[in-house]
């Protein structure tokens, strides 16, 4: 038997080339989020992470991995695929932002609209969605999360250790700053 209070849960899949990363490679703090575009708690975390990124500047690199709870959130899977498809054309973070800023409008027709606003080739984008071109990538993220002890969304890892505390701005920032 193991009691969990003492041990920590570790990110088993290190940040690498396959990831979408915002911030310098040599940043002192790596924050990984496993999130779902339709999850309201991830929606709450979104502006907080933005504020933290501003506050910590080059000391932070932020990584987003997909953890769609598809049974509960019918639009989450396609939204995740949409971000990856946009990512193929260097627009991952822009799409990511659009999705979190419009969490109540995530069906395919809106996804295409966001793609259009970002200047993406919408016929290719529609094809990607229709063929689920990025579903296996999403699955990979999901499984890497499961194996790392992601226990809901959002789950954060700070320098590879699962953060079980609050993600309210002040306490979250304080924990992150301890890494500096």
């Amino acid at each position: 038997m193991s009691r969990s209070q003492m041990d920590v849960t570790k990110l088993k899949f290190p940040v690498g080339k396959q990831d979408f990363i915002s911030g310098p490679e040599k940043a002192k703090i790596t924050l990984v989020e496993y999130g779902d575009y339709q999850c309201p708690y991830c929606g709450q975390a979104y502006p907080i992470v933005k504020k933290i990124q501003e506050k910590l500047g080059d000391d932070l690199r932020f990584v987003f991995r997909n953890f769609p709870l598809a049974e509960m959130h019918p639009y989450a899977m396609n939204a995740a695929e949409a971000a990856l498809s946009a990512g193929e054309h260097g627009k991952f973070w822009q799409m990511h932002d659009s999705l979190y800023e419009h969490q109540n409008a995530l069906d395919d027709k809106y996804l295409v609209q966001y793609a259009e606003e970002l200047g993406l080739d919408t016929s290719k984008f529609k094809n990607d969605l229709r063929n689920h071109a990025y579903s296996s990538r999403v699955e990979e993220d999901f499984l890497s999360g499961v194996r790392s002890g992601v226990n809901g969304t959002p789950t954060f890892f700070i320098n590879g250790i699962r953060h079980d505390g609050s993600f309210e701005f002040e306490p979250f920032l304080m924990v992150l700053k301890k890494m500096l």
């Binding site: 038997m1 009691r3 969990s4 708690y41 953890f67 709870l69 790392s148 002890g149 226990n151 079980d164």
Partner: protein
Amino acid sequence: MLEQGTIAPDFTLRSTPDQMVSLKQFLGRPVILVFYPADWSPVCGDEVSLFNHVLKEFQKFDAQLIGISVDGIWSHLAFIKDRKLQFPLLSDFEPKGAVSKLYDVYRTTDGESERALFVIDRKGIIRWSYLSPVGINPGANGVLDALESLDSKGDES
């Protein structure tokens, strides 16, 4: 909580108003027992929903997933429907908490089960167990690691 190496005590509990489920009917397959405090915890990706999303991975090991709480059967049925759960939730309702007590994962103070996980091998022996702080969803990584080590040991069949 019961330790690894212990024979998992058999039990029979209700899964629907007219259906009973016994542990022994799964002999020959690994079983994952998820004890949890209560239906309807107000978060996305609560423990039961998370495990529901990982079901496909558990099935790769031919494992049967079973949830147990002291909630009544009608609560379970509504919860299953709401979260689209594809595995049985058993009702440890009468006498209340009897099976949780049998596995030594009952919180008398709250009258609820602990947040506890057991992986039982094909012969009915507890091979792994985990007690989580009641407020922290343990995730599914420990269960998958345990199922993997069952297979690598090849101690069954």
